[in-house]
Symmetry: C2
Subunit: 370 residues, 2 copies
């Protein structure tokens, strides 16, 4: 890490493994399949570790990810963003690589349009109906009659297959206690199980009942009636997940390596070469004073600096780091733990993987774009 | 644009040219060289257009950009982020491609370290001393004795050459009137000219006197004593630059093409497939109600929708667009004008270039990373 060109993305292999093992154990104890969401890592090497000993399915957030993982031999891919008809050609291209892609939708208009388009092209289309369990972003409420309407459109469509229902408790990110996350986890479970029962009651099979968010996966008391969960950011952790009790500071596997390039003695402030692009502009989690900043500064070994200073301001390639208790040297290397691992990792093409002694042991590529 | 996979980055060729011509005319009328900052566009095709008829120099924000442009034949490259000793090997590699790279620094510690390292390697190192004209990010105040100290360290160094002084009036982005921008432009000019005079008074040549920001470049009354300016975002414009009077809405050359994938009648809200990654999380400019959002929605032809609705919330691949006056169709395409062109463009690998009729006429690659 003393030689890498900065800024660079660092992934701690041992911490990653701890995080993966913890979630795998959770899935086992909850009796569900783990279908990890690869939108954070977007990396084959991580996906292989995250699916080891699991059923093998993954979740993705873009067709670019779907194609990347299909090319590498992943065959069970849930594309977790509402499908539109114009994307079906891309889905077919991924399926031609040997993968089954499961799509989601949440309204009869979409269902009619995609079923019509699916009928005109080769290869099966598989769907989950998206349920709203309280985030009110997308999805149908479990008792909305359109759940059954969507199901019927799919079931009657040529080349179309209904696989079940799914939901995402995005509002679990608003929970600042584990008790609150437990309540949301139960809402998430109850919503999607209710929708599954509606379908089955109408004679429509519903083999997949899917939930997914890192906080609810970690805090759910039980997942009776659920078949799989789709957490993603648990692999790396970040300051935001730490702030809501999803991981410890010692679990943070992702950091940005940066170099000090200026020091203002009068303001006790270092400038570093990790700015808005290297860290992302995601203002995830407030510090003890409630200040939302851009990442926590640590030494090159990953130990947070005295008083846990944060990057307080960023320009495109400049990070402002006040609050240091001693003057850093020009060129001194620091590591910044990000607010939101998904946003920060998205800025890079690769991970520099380190072992427990901070030695770089590998370089793992990641995909991006759409 | 009806066929592209969304989200996709759209560049309006005609608007780009208008913006380039306007800034070229400004440089001519102010009597300075235009050394455009390529940190926004990061694109060879744009750089060739932006330097047409100019002296040919460019500014970059990363070594990755420096290398990309040097490989394509650009020979006069200012690397506009404070150098650290560990980056000198990368600079040498770029210079080995045939380019002269000019570095910046703002303190004697850095000067000593880099001059020592420069002496040990082949090839000349060229420097500007960075001056603080009021942003208080980096740079030395013009009357700081360390300006001359840095100059002496460089001038006495082996393989080292002092080219002059530079500053960046980043605080011009805080100006919400053109009068205020004019005042900052004069502060910017005066600071760097004063530093140049200090050097010359001490017998140190100072051929380059460099300023640069889009608002000050557009609003400066004169640039007496300045030799070049380095604006960047003027090429594309964005909502933030519009909000501070740097461009009109009709000048916005960059937009994100997106598809509607859900519609909630009860909330009058569309969901689009451009979220936090596709738009970036840069919250640049408030709307009339003072709400900082994530971009302005327009139809596929680039005309803002009725009441100028904005993306109000984003998740990784979801954008929330309330305030529509009529229901969009599923799959309908919209264009989102971004808050901050630099942040948004950085998320993409290429531009889809359109003509005045909205036809895609070219695809231009861009570089990224570090």
């Amino acid at each position: 890490m003393h030689e890498l060109r900065t800024p660079a993305l660092i992934l701690d292999r041992a911490r990653l493994q701890v995080n993966l093992d913890r979630m795998a154990a959770r899935a086992t104890s909850l009796g569900v399949n783990l279908r990890p969401h690869m939108k954070t890592a977007k990396c084959l090497d991580v996906a292989r570790l995250a699916t080891k000993g699991q059923a093998g399915g993954i979740t993705v957030s873009t067709l670019a990810e779907a194609e990347y993982f299909a090319r590498a031999g992943f065959t069970d891919i849930l594309y977790g963003v509402g499908i539109t008809p114009d994307k079906l050609a891309g889905v077919s291209a991924v399926q031609a690589l040997g993968a089954e892609v499961i799509l989601i939708l949440d309204n009869p208009d979409t269902a009619r349009l995609v079923v019509e388009r699916a009928g005109a092209q080769g290869g099966a289309c598989r769907f989950l109906i998206e349920i709203d369990c309280g985030q009110h972003r997308t999805g149908l409420l479990p008792d909305d009659p359109r759940v059954l309407e969507c199901a019927r459109i799919i079931v009657e469509g040529t080349n179309c297959e209904l696989r079940g229902v799914m939901t995402h408790a995005g509002h679990s990110y608003d929970c600042d206690t584990t008790d609150a996350a437990r309540v949301v986890a139960e809402d998430e479970r109850a919503a999607v199980v209710a929708a599954a029962e509606t379908l089955r009651g109408a004679g429509v099979p519903c083999p997949i009942v899917s939930v997914g968010s890192t906080p609810t996966a970690l805090h759910a008391e039980h997942l009776d009636g659920v078949t799989e969960m789709r957490p993603g950011v648990y692999m790396f952790g970040d300051l935001f997940q730490h702030s809501i009790g999803s991981c410890g500071l010692d679990d943070l596997a992702l950091s940005v390596l940066t170099s000090v390039n200026a020091w203002r003695e009068d303001e006790g402030r270092a400038m570093v070469d990790a700015g808005a692009l290297a860290l992302s502009l995601d203002r995830g989690a407030p510090d003890a004073e409630g200040d939302y900043a851009f990442g926590l500064a640590a030494d090159i070994a990953g130990h947070p600096l005295t008083n846990q200073p944060r990057i307080r301001q960023v320009n495109q390639e400049h990070g402002f780091l006040p609050g240091l208790t001693e003057a850093p040297g020009i060129g001194q290397r620091l590591r910044i733990f990000p607010n939101h691992a998904c946003s920060t990792a998205a800025q890079y093409k690769q991970y520099h993987v380190i072992d427990e002694d901070g030695r770089i042991i590998d370089t793992w590529d990641r995909t991006g774009g759409w």
